[in-house]
């Protein structure tokens, strides 16, 4: 079995100790890794583009459509009413001669605006309060009691009452949603903080004299990116459906604002006669909510470093 091996191979090789400390792998960057993981799946990329297009369109189209819920220019033009979807009228027309296309996008715009803005405010307040709550054992003692009381009140009931009291409108609806929901976010963050608060690297920071606020920003929040994104991915579609529901019930945005909920409510009586009137807004609503949710989930997975290659 002895092949021809040159004798000079049996000399000592050079040995460099410092070389062994060198790390060969390319530098790791968390956000680059998130991006790479996110775009790995073609479905995700497609859906993301779809969602962005959908949201952009919903935000821009109503600004140029000239549609307003308080005006009905074709109300006396019977030829423009109840037209089915066609190449001229993409979604058809409704009972008062409005383009369903315009109505739906105007409603979608407001649903999206309300849910995005509310979610943003809810998350900021909830994270700040929740982080401090998770750290402070003293605050936990009384805050948990507050939470227990508040969380037992039926969400929808509270929303309806507040909505009724504050009246209809974009601003008041956002206010209602923020008021009700921030404490759930705070509680969620508090629990997450408590889980990682006593890990060794946080003790190490304490031993180095790091202040609590810095610890929240640098030690805790970066770990919570994934769970926060997960939460947002569920919160936005959830708030969209609440807005739709409230508007459906006649609360929520009120008659001055276009709303998918009110639209669906108005069109439901035509379900048998002109089904396109009912189903089109419902499907648009579903498309927005579901794709937002799925993209959000994919983003949540991508921000979890355990899924990184």
């Amino acid at each position: 079995m002895m092949e021809r091996i040159e004798d000079n191979l049996f000399e000592f090789a050079e040995f460099d100790e410092r070389e062994s400390e060198h790390i060969a792998a390319p530098r790791y960057s968390y956000w680059k890794s998130v991006w790479r993981t996110f775009i790995r799946s073609k479905v995700t990329v497609f859906l993301s583009i779809f969602v962005i297009a959908l949201v952009a369109f919903a935000l821009i189209q109503p600004m140029h459509s000239g549609y307003s819920p308080t005006v009905a220019p074709n109300i006396n033009n019977s030829e423009m009413k109840y037209l089915p979807p066609s190449s001229e009228h993409l979604f058809g027309t409704d009972n008062i001669g409005n383009e369903v296309w315009d109505v739906v996008w105007a409603g979608a715009r407001n649903s999206i605006l309300v849910s995005f803005v509310s979610t943003a405010i809810i998350m900021v307040i909830g994270i700040l309060v929740g982080a401090v709550w998770g750290f402070s054992k003293k605050m936990d003692k009384w805050m948990i009691e507050v939470y227990n009381v508040v969380s037992n009140v039926p969400y929808l009931l509270l929303a309806m009452i507040l909505s009724y009291v504050l009246g209809a409108g974009l601003g008041s609806l956002i206010f209602v949603m923020v008021c009700i929901d921030w404490i759930y976010v705070a509680y969620f963050i508090r629990t997450q903080v408590m889980i990682i608060r006593d890990r060794e690297y946080n003790l190490a920071s304490k031993c180095l004299g790091t202040k609590t606020f810095t610890m929240i920003i640098k030690n805790i929040l970066p770990y919570l990116v994934s769970v926060i994104v997960t939460y947002i991915s569920r919160e936005i579609p959830s708030l969209i459906s609440y807005e739709v529901f409230l508007s459906y019930m006649g609360l929520g945005l009120g008659t001055n604002y276009a709303s998918l909920g009110r639209t669906i409510s108005q069109y439901k009586s035509f379900m048998t006669g002109y089904p396109h009137l009912f189903w089109i807004p419902v499907l648009v609503l579903a498309a927005i909510a579901i794709s937002l949710y799925v993209v959000g989930q994919k983003l949540a997975d991508a921000t979890d470093p355990r899924t990184h290659r």
């Binding site: 410092r18 400390e21 060198h22 790390i23 792998a25 530098r27 790791y28 968390y30 890990r199 060794e200 690297y201 003790l203 190490a204 920071s205 304490k206 031993c207 180095l208 004299g209 790091t210 202040k211 810095t214 640098k218 030690n219 970066p222 770990y223 470093p305």
Partner: protein
């Protein structure tokens, strides 16, 4: 007291008791009546098994745990209990900690540069950005790492390298006392030596004092000057290293030493471990106290036991 008279006491524990709340029920006493001094420049080892309270003591010195009784002093000044902000700052500057688990003790989302600079940021211990980066580079080189590592993240490193980052993080604060809580237990055997050598080298270069918390007696024998053995919250024996290994007196110490397997087949195959009969409850009572049996060798015992130990040790 003998030759220790001219040695300066850096840290002192007096009648320290640490207990934890079991949610209203009877408090659980993790540490009872702990007394020992650590002299400047020595490596003092605190040895015990899991649940002995050794980590609890270490964390109490770092002010992570509170004392329920007793006092800890550093350079003669009290560092336990409520302190003013300035006193607290002094403690942080003077006493630093090295943690056990290299995987959990570094912030995975922060760069090495930030991790090592964290203490510097907190007290603004640098003049400008250049100065800070120079300090970080120097700290990295001192522990055998490369300055290029500072832009990387902890998970890109091996366990041994991460532990060295933890050491750099502690030592950049230029403390006088370093509490090392099982710094090598989580490392592979061949890497442990590297970290131990590093700790020794840094101790000599920077005139450090170590409190070395461990459960591995073979390692402790190599690195420690004096050893305290702790069992179920009580310190049962304190002595200089070779003295302890030559004359282990407390029955728990004896059983602990006899349980350590030696890496020699001929010897090991002949040995029988000696079991400590009171393993679940520390033998104690009103007669028990720390008594000096041989010079600088203290054992927790009654007067009768003390006499017996002294005879056993040929005193």
């Amino acid at each position: 007291m003998s030759e220790q008279n001219n040695r300066e006491v850096l840290l002192s524990l007096k009648n320290v008791e640490i207990s934890f709340d079991n949610g209203g029920k009877q408090k659980f006493k993790a540490v009872q009546d702990a007394n020992f001094d650590i002299y400047k420049g020595e490596t003092f080892a605190l040895v015990g098994e899991s649940g002995s309270g050794k980590t609890t003591i270490g964390r109490a010195i770092m002010r992570i745990n509170e004392l329920s009784a007793g006092e800890i002093t550093f350079e003669g000044k009290r560092i336990s209990g409520k302190l003013s902000k300035q006193e607290d700052t002094q403690v942080i500057r003077n006493i630093q900690m090295i943690f056990q688990d290299p995987a959990a003790s570094l912030n995975e989302r922060a760069t090495i540069e930030y991790i090592i600079s964290e203490g510097l940021y907190n007290f603004h211990l640098y003049q400008n950005e250049e100065d800070r980066i120079a300090k970080v580079d120097r700290a990295l080189e001192e522990v055998g790492l490369l300055p290029e590592h500072k832009s990387r993240y902890p998970h890109e490193f091996s366990g041994g390298q991460r532990q060295r980052v933890g050491i750099a993080r502690a030592l950049i604060m230029e403390p006088k006392l370093v509490v090392a809580d099982e710094p090598i237990s989580a490392l592979d055997v061949s890497i442990r030596a590297q970290v131990l050598n590093l700790m020794n080298k840094l101790k000599n270069e920077k005139s450090l004092t170590y409190l070395f918390i461990a459960h591995d007696l073979s390692v402790v024998r190599f690195i420690a000057d004096r050893i305290a053995v702790i069992h179920l919250g009580r310190i049962v024996e304190i002595a200089e290293t070779e003295e302890l290994f030559a004359y282990p007196l407390h029955p728990y110490t004896v059983s602990l030493l006899s349980a350590v397997p030696m890496p020699d087949p001929i010897i090991e195959k002949q040995r029988e471990p000696i079991v400590y009969a009171d393993a679940t409850e520390e033998k104690t009572g009103p007669d028990y106290a720390m008594r000096e049996i041989r010079p600088e060798h203290y054992v927790y015992c009654t007067p009768e036991q003390a006499k017996r130990y002294a005879e056993l040790a040929g005193q």
